[in-house]
């Protein structure tokens, strides 16, 4: 009764490689693999020949050589005696700095504009439409250049702050100066015991989270709601403030002062950073506004109505019903906007901000003539950053997505 017979053993024909679906996919893959490898081999052999004619080799040791150029903004120690690798690191940190600042402000701007665009107020809604369409339809590069021009042309020079009846004055109780060389603001001076203060501040933040989880557990068990926000606010400020005065004011502010031709002391935010930051935030914010609007509109009206029927107040409806569902729609495109912002920060070249493209991909390549190696490292950096951002955000996305069977 054996209905299954052994497959015919010796009846394999060459034509089966093409016509038999069992073998065809392998055939196709082998051919494709050979073609792709041939293409890669062709490109690689071209590189080898071209490098040989130019008398260059493929070598990353230039990273250890003395860089010999200055960088005007650095987050870590750097001088022109440092190595090219150090310069690249300074650039990487500058890129990450502007990308991080941009992501934060773009989210704030975008969420505000997106919500306001849905507001019942006709004029505010139209104003936000103008903002969104204006920024989405004009190249980012133009915005960066325009904002940089505003920062350098329309702001006073440091010498305008001089004298009794100066043309310009510092704002916020004489602490912040907006000049055409950048914004000068007070910087914190870390004295003795300041680390203790920081530790207390961090501990109180941990305390806020602990208190929140305790409050949630209590609510789930007894139904009694605790005042989470007010206690959190108190925990945020009070312990740190008390410790600040008990420890004898360990942290002081270093105010910028006009001396010579320029301000000295304090913290200088360069125009290039500010222009790039503002432009990236406003531009990406316009895209985020549309994402937020689409996300809120995507939540079924019945959900709001059902929440009201259960007796939830409007703000609880928003927090517990609408926003969690909207977030699910909002987060995936939001991730790609963060990626876009990070990649767009390479437009720093337009305003002379020293990001990684300017140090590693610009001056280092020009000085050493290592185009191939430099561009490879630069591309690798952006690739890794993109993958890390999208990986991290996808983890978050997985935690808020719809739990399905």
């Amino acid at each position: 009764m054996a209905t299954l017979s052994d497959p015919p053993q010796k009846s394999f024909h060459i034509s089966q490689l093409i016509y038999d679906t069992r073998y065809r996919s392998t055939t196709i893959q082998v051919i494709a693999f050979i073609l792709i490898m041939a293409g890669i081999w062709w490109l690689a052999s071209n590189v080898v020949t071209n490098l040989a004619t130019l008398g260059k080799d493929f070598d990353f040791s230039f990273l250890g050589n003395r860089a010999g150029y200055d960088i005007n903004q650095m987050l870590i120690e750097y001088s022109n005696d440092s190595t090219h690798a150090r310069a690249a690191l300074v650039g990487i940190l500058n890129t990450l700095l502007v990308a991080f600042l941009g992501c934060v402000t773009a989210t704030i701007i975008g969420v505000t504009a997106g919500v306001l665009r849905l507001s019942k107020n006709w004029i505010v809604g139209r104003l936000m439409t103008v903002y969104v369409e204006g920024f989405r339809n004009i190249p980012l590069l133009l915005w960066i250049i325009v904002i940089f021009a505003v920062m350098t042309e329309a702001t006073p020079q440091p010498r305008d702050f001089r004298g009794e009846d100066a043309e310009a004055s510092m704002i916020l109780w004489d602490s912040v100066a907006i000049t055409n060389r950048g914004i000068f603001m007070p910087s914190p001076e870390w004295g003795a015991n300041s680390m203790l203060l920081v530790a207390i501040f961090l501990a109180s933040i941990v305390g806020i989270f602990v208190y929140r989880s305790m409050a949630r557990k209590k609510q789930e068990q007894t139904g009694v709601q605790s005042p989470v926000f007010l206690v959190g606010l108190a925990l945020f400020f009070i312990p740190t403030l008390i410790a600040y005065f008990i420890l004898g004011r360990p942290v002081t502010l270093n105010y910028p002062e006009l001396g010579g031709f320029n301000f000295s002391g304090g913290l200088q935010l360069r125009n290039s950073l500010i222009a790039l930051w503002i432009a990236l935030s406003l531009y990406t914010g316009a895209f985020i506004a549309e994402i937020v609007r689409a996300g809120i509109l995507a939540v079924n009206k019945g959900q709001t109505e059902a929440a009201s029927a259960l007796g939830l107040r409007p703000n609880r409806t928003m927090n517990l019903v609408v926003l969690p569902q909207a977030l699910r729609v909002i987060i995936p495109p939001l991730i790609s906007q963060y990626l876009n912002l990070t990649k767009n920060s390479s437009l720093a070249i337009a305003v002379g901000y020293m990001d990684v493209r300017a140090t590693l991909g610009g001056i280092t390549i020009n000085q050493t003539g290592r185009e191939l190696e430099g561009m490879l490292l630069l591309g690798l950096f952006y690739l890794v950053t993109s993958l890390v951002i999208s990986g991290g955000m996808n983890l978050y996305n997985n935690s808020v997505k719809l739990q399905e069977r």
Partner: protein, 446 residues
């Protein structure tokens, strides 16, 4: 009796026998007053926001309207503009310290911002190419256009290339013939060779033709019949012409590549799938500006030493690869949105892979992804401004060149506003078109 009578009479007094005419609602519940009440002052917070918004609008307009509309259009240089303005102020026609725009820079240099250094006697060629491009796009964008126009759509890239760069007519013709070979392989080779071999032939034969035969054949044809128009060098392209050429070339060339990559990413074949994924992720993970620098610094390393591409061609190659990765993702979304039954239906009809794709899957997937494709075209068009960093003169590059002359040194806003306005009109038009498509497609699905 009288009581009853009086009772009924009081009753009848309340019974109305005729309808009252409709009355207009109270003033506060109708017309503009109601609208203002509901839309602007529905609550205290809303009222504050309205007043704040009105103040912002007033502040912006009061500072810009005069500057824009009193602007001077007729002058040869910025200093001449200022003289005219000072003259008006001295005459007392304008108040002290009036600042006005100097639009004269546009009437003086508009042709450079639009065409770059393209020879003025040939301005008709890019304009004609733009018209042909628009006509060729019509059957793709609107479905009530005659289908026969699609032939023009296929020919348009070659016609536009010939018009823009000029030179001999045989080059574009012979290159176009390579596509004919590929098409013939798919169309007539499927029966005798089978689907796989004909597909392979359709890829390999045109490549061999372009690599080894185009040069000699063009040379022979040129020596027999030298037909052509005067050639224009790539260096002469600039301004919005450059942005349009790079943008259009990028999108046209990247469409087929994007479709192939999307199919590769959806494919079950392991090697093809993985290579598509790697290509797409690597391209998308790195900013366009880095790719452009790669094109200008490195692309010559990857090509045979004999090949000498000019910078514009290299940039177009890079932009094409870049946008094909993005288009592939858009089309992949369209492919994923198709119900499984469409694939199964194609299989049950006995269609082979390419027939199924061409007749059933791709038309629907592309239809779904048109809005996404349009928005990636908008992005690509805006990104053409980045070519300024590798030394091409796009509109922003030309604004720098114009500012570098002594006549117009120190002029900013007028140029920025003009460039921004041009980009805004193009991109806003495209986004409105894609919204129109979305609405049209949405009705088709419900």
């Amino acid at each position: 009796m009288s009581e009853i009578h009086s009772e009924t009479s009081t009753h009848t007094a309340y019974v109305r026998t005729e309808m009252l005419p409709e009355q207009a609602p109270p003033v506060t519940a109708a017309g503009p007053a109601k609208w203002v009440r509901e839309n602007l002052f529905s609550s205290v917070g809303n009222g504050i926001m309205t007043i704040l918004a009105l103040y912002v609008i007033y502040y912006i307009l009061s500072h810009t309207l005069g500057w824009v509309f009193m602007g001077i259009w007729d002058a040869g240089s910025l200093s001449e503009c200022r003289e005219i303005r000072d003259g008006y102020i001295a005459e007392g026609r304008w108040a002290e310290h009036t600042e006005v725009a100097c639009w004269a820079v546009l009437s003086d240099r508009w042709h450079q911002l639009l065409f770059g250094f393209y020879p003025p006697e040939f301005y008709w060629r890019p304009i004609l190419a733009l018209v042909i491009f628009g006509v060729a796009l019509a059957p793709v964008l609107f479905d009530n256009v005659n289908r026969k126009m699609l032939i023009l759509t296929l020919l348009a890239p070659f016609i536009c290339y010939f018009l823009l760069w000029g030179g001999s007519i045989w080059g574009p013709l012979v290159v176009a013939f390579g596509f004919v070979i590929g098409f013939a392989c798919i169309k007539y080779g499927a029966l005798p060779l089978g689907a796989l071999l004909s597909t392979l032939a359709a890829i390999v034969l045109p490549l061999i033709f372009w690599l080894f035969l185009v040069g000699p054949i063009t040379g022979v044809l040129n020596s027999i019949a030298p037909i052509g128009i005067e050639a224009v060098d790539s260096d002469n392209f600039g301004g919005f012409l450059l942005a349009f050429v790079i943008g259009a070339a990028g999108i046209i060339l990247s469409m087929p590549l994007g479709v192939v990559l999307a199919l590769g990413r959806q494919s079950d074949l392991f090697i093809i799938n993985k290579f598509s994924v790697i290509f797409i992720e690597v391209i998308r993970g790195v900013p366009l500006i880095v790719w452009l620098f790669t094109a200008s610094l490195l692309l010559n390393y990857f090509l045979p030493p004999s090949a000498n591409f000019d910078l514009m061609l290299r940039v177009i190659i890079m932009v094409t690869l870049f946008s094909s990765a993005y288009i592939a993702e858009v089309i992949r979304g369209g492919l994923a949105a198709l119900p499984r039954g469409q694939y199964e239906g194609a299989d049950s009809l006995g269609l082979n892979y390419w027939q199924a794709m061409q007749l059933i899957i791709l038309p629907q997937a592309l239809k779904i992804s048109i809005p996404g494709i349009v928005s990636s075209f908008i992005g690509l068009f805006k990104d053409t401004t980045l070519v300024v960093f590798v030394g091409l003169s796009d509109p922003i590059g030309f604004s720098n060149l114009i500012r570098a002359t002594t006549d117009w040194n120190g002029i900013y806003w007028e140029l920025f506003i003009f460039i921004g306005l041009c980009f805004f009109i193009c991109c806003f038009g495209m986004s409105r078109y894609s919204q129109y498509l979305e609405r049209k497609l949405a009705t088709g699905h419900r």
